[in-house]
Symmetry: C2
Subunit: 338 residues, 2 copies
């Protein structure tokens, strides 16, 4: 067997449906949608949720505040810019973690904040100091947006200085335009971990189809926190999906995943969010796609009738789902079911 089992005890999935997902084209969550999504995620077993910047609007603030009081055992993190104002407002909302982010690539620095690398570092430190002075024990994460279009030297400066400051609990690494290959992810996660000596969080987009596998790769390469969203919704065509992460981790450590997640609840969350944002669940989606457990070629049907594990890496029944055997199609005639 070349698929090695993996120890997942140090891995935390951060669901960002209520932040990155809110940036999806057709997402327009009401406060009650948000509450329902958060409840379902927590019921399923996710214990770390990222929400939209409370400084973004009055409603974002109120929604964050309500989630915090409604879900006292769940870590709610506010995703914020490195602005003192954002820090203050986010802390006022009562969240348990601040996820700060700053653009570091030359292209994003120039169209976004216009700051040089030294100023990026100074700004992040100032915000972190402000946060620590007001809420010493809060979980603080700093992430470099667009890290894969940034030179190694600049990255090393930012991560290195901020690690030395001792202000942060964890560093994020964002593949903002979805250009990283899995090998890039592996190298970068290992490198930033060595540079900083800190826990690493992964966040990656799907522009070239790598979001799911990159998130899985990050988890296997030493990232302690990985971002995902229901259906992978987010800016453009999105990020890693919760469903794919569960599929990926389940094939590596089924017992861990069964113990920590109520697998039969996954379908309700996926369907609810799909309805909320008005998309069809992609036919190609792991676990939840309509074709995920559909077998057709004669050889496959014959095998699956004897032992479903022959052509299934995941047991549909554990997710409250059924396999579908296309017995009527002419292709099945080939090595027919005899």
């Amino acid at each position: 067997m070349t698929v090695a089992p993996v120890d997942l005890s140090h891995l935390t999935l951060i669901d960002t449906t209520l932040r990155e997902g809110e940036q999806f084209q057709t997402a327009d969550f009401t406060s009650s949608d948000k509450r329902r999504i958060a409840e379902m995620l927590v019921g399923f077993g996710v214990n770390y949720l990222e929400v939209t910047n409370p400084a973004a609007s009055e409603r974002s603030f109120k929604d964050a505040e309500k989630l915090v009081s409604h879900l006292p055992r769940t870590k709610i993190a506010a995703h914020i810019r490195c602005h003192p104002e954002d820090v203050r407002i986010a802390l006022d909302s009562g969240v348990g973690a601040l996820h700060m982010v700053m653009a570091v690539s030359p292209i994003l620095r120039s169209v976004s904040h216009g700051k040089g690398i030294t100023e990026v570092i100074r700004t992040a430190e100032e915000c972190a100091k402000l946060a620590r002075s007001r809420a010493p024990g809060i979980e603080l994460r700093y992430s470099n947006e667009d890290a894969f279009r940034c030179g190694r030297e600049d990255l090393a400066k930012v991560y290195g200085s901020l690690a030395q400051s001792g202000l942060f609990d964890r560093f994020g690494l964002a593949d903002t335009t979805g250009v990283a290959s899995p090998m890039d992810v592996q190298q970068m996660v290992q490198w930033v971990r060595e540079e900083t000596g800190k826990a690493i969080e992964w966040h990656g987009h799907n522009d070239t189809g790598c979001a799911d596998a990159n998130a899985g790769t990050a988890a296997l390469s030493g990232a302690s926190h990985v971002n995902c969203s229901v259906l992978g919704i987010g800016e453009r065509n999105g990020i890693a999906s919760l469903e794919s992460m569960i599929a990926f981790l389940y094939t590596r450590s089924p017992d861990h995943i069964r113990q920590h997640y109520h697998l039969d609840q996954l379908q309700d969350i996926t369907r609810f969010v799909a309805d909320c944002v008005g998309v069809e669940i992609p036919f190609s989606h792991p676990i939840m796609g309509k074709a995920a457990f559909s077998h057709k070629a004669g050889i496959h049907l014959k095998a699956v009738l004897q032992d479903p594990g022959s052509y299934e890496a995941i047991v549909p029944e554990e997710f409250g789902l059924e396999r579908h055997l296309n017995l009527a199609h002419r292709l099945t005639g080939w090595n027919a079911i005899r």
Copy 2:
């Protein structure tokens, strides 16, 4: 820049929409659908197509025969079992390549052909000899089905013996149940290449969301041939998609991809196949998903209005597509377009 440009001159994309894709749940291609799909693919720039076993049915035979004569400059490969009958019939259809496959994992061997490893090797050799005796110059590929659930020793025996036989041009490596991580792919491709000294072909499924990234990883790890299908259609939730492969390779070597493919034709192929099999193009699909070039958060909109490259790894116009700016949404108010 950590995304390294790559030399793609030794990489061939094999489109298997007309083989693996025919095994998709709702695929039921007519002969004229097949011809149209093949024509569109060839027009786009794909020059290697895999088709269903001509021994599967009279129609599969005729369809293969017609494609061969209709597309004389395209390599048409028949995907066959290691049966002398399949070899003979496939050769009679006039195809330019035989893609033989045999199950090698213990679970598939037991529910499929019931043969031991030695017999697998003998069977593959016999079929290859038959093929070589009748069509000495034909392109011959042998692939191990379910290679990732097979022990290394067994794999080494099969690949090693068949490489020594000198009968094959290339060896395939199939992640039949979609359990391989990108790191597994990288290791396996490199290992089989070293074991055999031959060109390597990659084929991988999407059960855990890794099909696209695994195919990209294989290409960057030394595979000379990579399988994909339009929309990734195939058994269950499918394999790597042509669209994702183009997106992935474009971000690494845009000039090569522009020179070899008519990018503005990709959308017609994708839409045609989606219609044929009655699926919606997944919103999360690279390039072709409806959200692929949709920007929403204020920070993103502001940046994209200045320079689309700020948040786009791929230029939509090159694919005849347009970006979509969600200017009306309340989230855009945050760092509004000033």
